[in-house]
């Protein structure tokens, strides 16, 4: 089957610095792809390039490559070549994104219901009352308790986990084909992280949207991903199914990364601390 999104030989630069070099991968419908890597590996720049946000404000430049997106009508378009007005139509509507820190992504002076409604009014031309209904529906979808009351609350009145649910509700409100989640649970406590990861898995089944998740956490990758792209120093290191990458990593870097992941239960049967057995790799 043809991929929903195909990134081909993407190269992104910031002045003389190459943040992403010759990167290629595909995402298929209903699939969750994780891009994993350490800080500075280029994973967030990859996400921002797909949204074509990398050129805005940050002065990044997509120097080469294609980002082929299959639109709902079946046409394949190269997002790199699209005008800003076309991109505005796609962003939040067909491809939407959630970020690490929900508090900085929400406007403090509007109620959360209002902010989610804005997206559906803008993209789907709903009336105010229809929008409110649609927001309620998405709040229920992301399992916000007492959605009728929450609708009229301001971001500061919600906990971090609830705010991230609001962000996910906003991202899903227009039924996007692809949801890009950049470190969606990194700022959350572990019990809330478990809730949000479970929710994201559930939502994929309910909505059929493909998910591109950017993370540094191999635990998160193992929990949600079907396919994995490992990045290091702007380049793709390894790509494969989540089982291949975890059980049979082909590259030294992936092995080194996996060796340094603390694993719960690894110390069973012992009583004293013990150091990590680190794997060396050539940088």
């Amino acid at each position: 089957m043809e991929p929903l999104l195909s990134v081909r030989n993407l190269t992104v630069t910031f002045g003389s610095f190459t943040a992403v070099k010759d990167l290629s991968f595909d995402i298929h419908e209903g699939q969750t792809l994780a891009v994993v890597g350490e800080s500075g590996s280029g994973k967030s720049v990859t996400a921002l390039s797909i949204m074509r946000l990398v050129e805005l404000g940050t002065r990044g430049e997509i120097e080469g490559g294609e980002i082929l997106f299959r639109t709902p009508s079946g046409d394949v378009i190269d997002l790199v070549q699209q005008s800003e007005s076309t991109m505005r139509d796609i962003r939040g509507n067909q491809i939407s994104m959630i970020f690490q820190e929900p508090l900085t992504s929400l406007n403090p002076v509007f109620t959360v219901g209002n902010q989610v409604a804005e997206a559906v009014i803008l993209h789907q031309g709903l009336s105010k009352d229809e929008a409110r209904e649609r927001v309620l529906e998405t709040f229920r979808l992301v399992r916000i308790p007492d959605p009728e009351q929450r609708l009229d609350q301001y971001p500061h009145e919600l906990s971090g986990g609830m705010r991230q649910r609001v962000m996910i509700a906003m991202a899903l409100s227009c039924d996007p084909k692809i949801l890009i989640a950049d470190e969606p649970t990194t700022a959350l406590d572990v019990t809330i992280q478990a809730q949000i990861l479970g929710l994201m898995r559930d939502l994929r089944e309910q909505t059929g949207a493909a998910v591109l998740i950017i993370t540094h956490d191999m635990g998160v990758v193992a929990e949600v991903a079907d396919e994995v792209v490992v990045m290091n120093q702007s380049r793709l290191v390894e790509r494969g199914s989540v089982y291949d990458v975890f059980e049979n990593p082909a590259e030294d870097y992936t092995r080194a990364l996996l060796a340094s992941v603390p694993r719960l239960g690894s110390m069973a049967g012992t009583t004293t601390p013990s150091p990590f057995e680190l794997v060396e790799y050539e940088r």
Partner: protein, 302 residues
């Protein structure tokens, strides 16, 4: 643990913060614990559970509302700042963000030398040599002392903060989420360094963390905090292999497992931790800890 007296002993330590209108945040509520010599006690819990407040109380960056802190047999709870100075040498802290913990305009060698100078040790020793040795001890090189913080990576900066904490040859180092901001490969290196230093220098650690997988690696004993109180405390093996309190189990269940074969279907919960803010005249119910097996204490649940 051995029968020798603990290095630090905290009893019924409590910290309340007023938040206006008479309401009070019960940040730390009657916490009692000990850290032995050459022991690592990990304190785990989620944001707002009071673990950092506890650390700040123990190093006397905050004044407790009530309770006592005994360091090596001396009550330091309300010691004068002058008298505290000598004791502070024994207690050092490393914070989460090494970027915020170093002055961007000072060479890092100066930052590491500062505690030696402040404590009046500079006249008896060769400061430059001591600092250079500290740099080597934490896996950096001597020639780095003249460089500035921006020239180092996050992991290197945290090593510098560790070198600074070790300058006064402390007995207890409090690591407040000290490896949380680091990439995993760097995090593993820094944790290994801390373990090496523990066996080399006989250090004790109070290791504050939200990351249970890291805690399992580093600790001898573990205290689980929830809403300002300890709900379970015991040897690491008991906490991880035989957890008794429902909150400990819930925390352990929530940790993502780095193995796609053991992907679990979790019930979709939406509940949250209640607020630690209490209206005037009200307060949390105090939990009672009962010894479940030797050294393993569990809060009684209704």
């Amino acid at each position: 643990m051995t029968a020798e007296a603990p290095l630090i002993e905290v009893e019924n330590l409590t910290k309340h913060f007023p938040v206006g209108g008479g309401a009070v945040v019960h940040a730390v509520e009657k916490v009692s614990l000990t850290v032995g010599h050459r022991e690592t006690l990990a304190v785990v819990g989620e944001s707002g559970c009071g673990k950092s407040t506890l650390a700040h109380l123990m190093i006397r960056l905050l004044k407790p509302t009530s309770g006592t802190i005994n360091l090596d047999g001396t009550d330091i709870t309300s010691m004068s700042n002058r008298a505290m100075r000598e004791n502070r040498r024994k207690l050092q802290i490393i914070f989460q963000d090494p970027f915020a913990s170093l002055d961007p305009r000072r060479p890092v060698g100066k930052a590491v030398a500062e505690p030696l100078i402040v404590h009046g040790l500079a006249k008896d020793i060769d400061v430059d040599e001591t600092v250079a040795e500290l740099f080597e001890k934490v896996g950096l090189t001597r020639d780095m002392v003249r460089q500035f913080p921006h020239q180092f990576s996050g992991g290197q900066r945290q090593r510098i903060c560790i070198a600074r904490a070790l300058a006064l040859r402390p007995q207890l180092v409090i690591a407040d989420e000290a490896v949380s901001a680091l990439d995993v490969s760097i995090q593993a290196q820094v944790i290994n360094l801390m373990m090496d230093l523990q066996s080399e220098m006989g250090l004790s650690f109070l290791f504050i963390s939200h990351d249970l997988a890291v805690v399992e690696r580093v600790s001898h004993r573990v205290a689980v905090m929830y809403l300002g109180q300890i709900v379970e405390l015991g040897p690491r093996a008991a906490i991880f292999e035989n957890p008794q309190h429902s909150y400990t189990r819930r925390l352990l269940d929530a940790v993502p497992v780095a193995d796609p074969r053991v992907r679990r279907d979790r019930p979709l919960m939406t509940d949250e931790i209640p607020s630690p803010v209490w209206a005037p005249g009200t307060g949390p119910a105090h939990v009672n800890l009962v010894e479940h097996d030797p050294g393993h204490f569990v809060a009684v649940e209704d």
